[in-house]
C-alpha cells in the first residue's frame, strides 16, 4: 500500500525527462481523454440518479412509518358505538401496533385552519378519526377493509402512504442500479484504457527496445506509460465531470415537492462524490496501464 501511494505520488511529481522519452502518441492520447471524459460525464448522471433516488427512498420510507387513519362517518348517535367497534377490530388486527381515537380537541385543531377555532365540533356531523400506528411488518389493508365493512359500515380506511411502498422499493432499487452503473462505467473505462495502453505499448515497441538496450528497468518504462495514461484519465474525467455537472445544474430547479425528476442534483456531502469521479478514473487508469505494461514488458526478451 505504501509503495502504491508512493507510485501515485510519483505520477504527480513526475520527471520531465521521462515524460519526453515516450513520444505523445496522438491517437491513444485522444482515445484515453475522450473515453475517460465521456465515462465521467455518464457517471455524473448515474451518481445524480443514485443520490436522488436514495434521498427519495429515505423520505418516503420515513413517511411510511407514520400512521394511517380510519375515518368513521355515521349518524351522531351511532358514532361512539361504531368507534368502539372499529377500535376492537383494529386491536385484533395483526400488524397494527396502536390504534387511538382522536379527541375532540385534536379534531378541532386539525380543522381549525379551515373553519376557525370556534367550531362546535360536538354538534356537527363530523367524522371520527382513529389514528393507526403500524408495526414494521404493516397490516393487510384489504383484509382489514373487509372486516371493517362487515362490522363498522361507516369506516373508511385511508392508508394514503401505502401506495408509496412499491415506489419506495423502486427508488431503492434505482439507487442500487445507479451504483452498479458507476461500477460498470469504471470497468468499461478500465477496458478502454487497457486497450489504448496496449496500442501505445505496441506502437512504441522500438522505443521500449532502445530503453532496454541502454539499461532501463521495466519499472522505469512502465512508469513512463502509466504516468501518461493516469494524467490523461484524470484530466479527461475532470472535464467530463464538470460538463456533466453543468448539465445537471441547468435542469429545471427543484421545488420542495418537486418529486423525482427535478430532484436530480447534489446536496451537502454528496458533492464529495463528484470530486471522487476523476480520482476514480485516475486510479482505474493507473491500475489498468500498470497491468498492461507489466504484461507487455514481461513478454519481451
Amino acid at each position: 500500500m505504501k509503495t502504491f501511494l508512493a507510485d501515485i505520488m510519483a505520477i504527480f511529481v513526475g520527471d520531465a525527462q521521462a515524460d519526453r522519452i515516450v513520444p505523445p502518441t496522438g491517437f491513444t492520447a485522444r482515445l484515453t481523454l475522450f473515453a475517460s471524459g465521456a465515462m465521467a460525464f455518464l457517471a455524473v448522471f448515474a451518481l445524480a440518479l443514485s443520490l436522488a433516488s436514495g434521498r427519495l427512498a429515505q423520505r418516503w420510507g420515513q413517511e411510511l412509518a407514520q400512521s394511517s387513519t380510519l375515518r368513521i362517518s355515521a349518524p351522531v348517535e351511532q358514532l361512539a358505538a361504531q368507534t368502539a367497534a372499529a377500535l376492537k377490530v383494529l386491536e385484533t388486527t395483526p400488524g397494527v401496533a396502536e390504534a387511538r381515537a382522536l379527541t375532540a380537541e385534536e379534531q378541532r385543531a386539525l380543522l381549525a385552519p379551515w373553519f376557525g377555532p370556534d367550531l362546535p365540533v360536538e354538534n356537527l356531523p363530523i367524522p371520527q378519526l382513529i389514528s393507526i400506528e403500524e408495526t414494521s411488518g404493516g397490516y393487510d389493508a384489504a383484509g382489514l377493509r373487509l372486516r371493517l365493512q362487515a362490522e363498522v359500515p361507516g369506516a373508511i380506511l385511508d392508508d394514503h402512504t401505502r401506495w408509496r411502498k412499491p415506489l419506495q422499493q423502486a427508488a431503492s432499487r434505482l439507487r442500487l442500479l445507479g451504483f452498479v452503473s458507476i461500477i460498470l462505467i469504471a470497468a468499461v473505462t478500465g477496458t478502454i484504457i487497457t486497450l489504448a495502453a496496449n496500442a501505445a505499448l505496441a506502437a512504441n515497441a522500438r522505443l521500449i527496445a532502445v530503453l532496454r538496450l541502454v539499461g532501463a528497468q521495466d519499472s522505469y518504462i512502465a512508469k513512463a506509460f502509466v504516468r501518461r495514461f493516469t494524467l490523461r484519465a484524470l484530466s479527461g474525467a475532470a472535464v467530463g465531470t464538470v460538463v456533466g455537472l453543468i448539465a445537471v445544474l441547468i435542469l429545471p430547479s427543484a421545488q420542495d415537492q418537486g418529486g423525482f425528476l427535478t430532484g436530480l442534483g447534489f446536496q451537502g456531502a454528496s458533492w464529495l462524490w463528484l470530486v471522487l469521479l476523476p480520482i476514480l478514473a485516475a486510479v482505474v487508469a493507473f491500475l489498468a496501464t500498470g497491468a498492461a505494461a507489466r504484461r507487455t514488458l514481461s513478454e519481451l526478451r
Binding site: 525527462q17 527496445a209 532502445v210 532496454r212 538496450l213 541502454v214 539499461g215 528497468q217 522505469y220
Partner: protein
C-alpha cells in the same frame, strides 16, 4: 569480466557459432573480424547478454547469463557500453537527450552528470549539434553520438559494432582515436570491423588482439596481418 565457456549459438537453423571460449580481462583491446554475416553482431549480443547461448555458459561480471533476471540485465547494460551497428537512437529526442538516455533511465541525470554530458559532447566534437534530431545527423555524427552514449555511464567495457561502417577514412581514424583514449583510461574495448586498414592503424598504437570468426569458430588471429 566477460567469460564465454564453450558456448554455441543458433537462431534456429544450424549453429552460427560453436565452441567459443573467451575470457575478456580489464584493459584488453580486441578486434573482432570476419566477413559480413559471419556472426560478429551475434557474438557482441552474446557478450552483453542480449542473446543467451544455446549451449555453454556465458558469465557477465561473474554472473551466469541464464540466471540473470530482467532487472539484472538492465543493470549489467549500464556497465557495458555498446555502440550498436544501427546506432539505435530515439528519433524524436535531440542528440543531447539521446546521449544522456542511459543517465535518465538509471535515475542519474543529476546536475553533475549533465555538465559531464557537455564535456563528453565536446570530446566527440558534437557540441554544436546537441539540439539536432538523429535523422538530421550525418553517418559520422551518428557514430560519434552512439559512442558518446555508450561511454556516458562510464562503463567498464565498450563494445563497438562496426563503428566505422559508413564513415570515411578520416572519420574512422577519429573514432579509433577516441576508442584508443578510452582504452588508455583503463576501459576494455572490443571493436567489430571488417576494415583491415583500421586494425593495422590501431596495431601500431595499442596491444590489440584480433579475433576472427571463420567456420563458426572464433579464433585468435596470429600476429601476421
Amino acid at each position: 569480466m566477460i567469460e564465454l565457456d564453450n558456448i554455441a549459438y543458433s537462431y534456429g537453423g544450424g549453429e552460427l557459432l560453436s565452441e567459443v571460449n573467451l575470457s575478456i580481462q580489464p584493459g584488453d583491446f580486441y578486434f573482432l573480424t570476419g566477413p559480413s554475416g559471419a556472426g560478429k553482431t551475434t557474438f557482441m549480443k552474446l557478450c552483453y547478454g542480449e542473446l543467451t547461448p544455446t549451449s555453454g555458459q556465458a558469465r557477465l561480471f561473474g554472473q551466469d547469463v541464464r540466471s540473470m533476471s530482467r532487472d539484472d540485465h538492465a543493470v549489467t547494460r549500464r556497465r557495458i557500453g555498446v555502440v550498436h551497428q544501427d546506432c539505435q537512437f530515439l528519433d524524436h529526442l535531440p542528440l543531447a537527450d539521446n546521449v544522456a538516455l542511459p543517465l535518465a533511465v538509471s535515475g542519474r541525470d543529476d546536475l553533475e552528470n549533465v555538465s559531464n554530458l557537455k564535456e563528453l559532447l565536446g570530446w566527440v566534437g558534437l557540441k554544436e549539434r546537441a539540439k539536432a534530431l538523429p535523422p538530421e545527423l550525418s553517418g559520422g555524427e551518428r557514430q560519434r553520438a552512439a559512442l558518446a552514449r555508450a561511454v556516458i555511464m562510464s562503463p567498464d567495457i565498450i563494445l563497438a559494432d562496426e563503428p566505422t561502417g559508413n564513415v570515411d577514412w578520416e572519420m574512422s581514424q577519429r573514432l579509433l582515436q577516441l576508442l584508443l583514449e578510452l582504452n588508455r583510461m583503463g576501459k576494455t574495448v572490443m571493436i567489430a570491423t571488417h576494415d583491415m586498414n583500421l586494425i593495422r592503424a590501431a596495431k601500431s598504437k595499442v596491444q590489440a588482439r584480433v579475433l576472427r570468426i571463420a567456420n563458426r569458430h572464433v579464433q585468435l588471429a596470429g600476429a601476421d596481418l
